[in-house]
Symmetry: C2
Subunit: 143 residues, 2 copies
DNA sequence: ATGCAACTTCAAGCCCACTTGAGGTCAAGA
DNA sequence: TCTTGACCTCAAGTGGGCTTGAAGTTGCAT
């Protein structure tokens, strides 16, 4: 059991951010010593997970839906599957973008945005994105 | 040459968003017919690129620094390289997160956050992140 | 017992990335 | 010529994700 300053040091999250996350139900403290919050180890894993999920572009609301707010989260398999699929799409986009950037670095075309190779790289990722957007319009429940 | 409503349809960006991007110098219109903005094809590639870069977690400011604001952007190779490297890091994090989620879907441990396999998956990504954070503290210029 | 650093609450503020609304202008068709 | 409607500008508003500041409360060391 440790207090907010240790958790802050360990996680790199500011105390105000930790309090905010608790307020919106993303993490929890397990008790108090006087006024001071006390945390247990589990919260560190949780914070790592939140941090990664944010990097992946999920909002705090989506993260809460995914991992729940309690120690024993109700993990809905269909939600987890949807998140994993979303990450796969994102990975493909990022890969295309990275390849595009690396190509541009070595490309001698006068205007890189008009380089056919670059455009093709970008278009591939965009096409996936648009196909995805279309699907979620036809099928709004599975967002 | 086409107007804002066609560009909006083609790109999926709202007219207000397109005007906003022009205001902050991310895209440009090449002229007017009366009051109405006129765009040329190049802007579509640019918008695709912006869209991807946002997915990758870059701010509009960073995107502007990376691709410049003009038709013939000043592409700084060191900036491009840094962005590409950042994307690589992010891809690794996303991969770990996705694997973690997929594992949890099939894991029968009572509390998933305490599943050692899950923790290991998460910790790997987090370690990379923290190493990166440390490096940029020691070397604040190369962010 | 007293001080004080580290915590606490709660409301307000801030930055980013847009959106909205009010009021204005223009080009083309009836 | 007159209307229509799609565009325009500019200022203010919104929502997410925090941070900041003022004022209060504690455990612990002296």
């Amino acid at each position: 059991m440790f207090d907010i300053s240790e958790l802050s040091r360990a996680s790199g999250f500011s105390p105000s951010k930790l309090r905010y996350y608790e307020e919106i139900g993303l993490i929890r403290s397990v008790g108090r010593r006087g006024l001071k919050r006390l945390y247990e180890d589990e919260v560190k894993t949780r914070i790592s997970l939140i941090s990664l999920a944010q990097t992946a572009g999920f909002s705090l609301g989506e993260i809460k839906e995914t991992i729940g707010s309690e120690g024993r989260p109700e993990l809905d398999r269909t939600v987890l599957a949807a998140r994993a699929d979303a990450i796969d799409v994102r990975i493909k986009e990022l890969t295309a973008l990275r390849d595009g950037l690396r190509h541009v670095m070595n490309c001698t075309a006068e205007n890189h945005l008009e380089c056919p190779r670059f455009q093709r790289i970008i278009r591939v990722a965009l096409t996936k994105k648009q196909a995805d957007a279309k699907r979620s319009k036809k099928n709004p429940d599975k967002g």
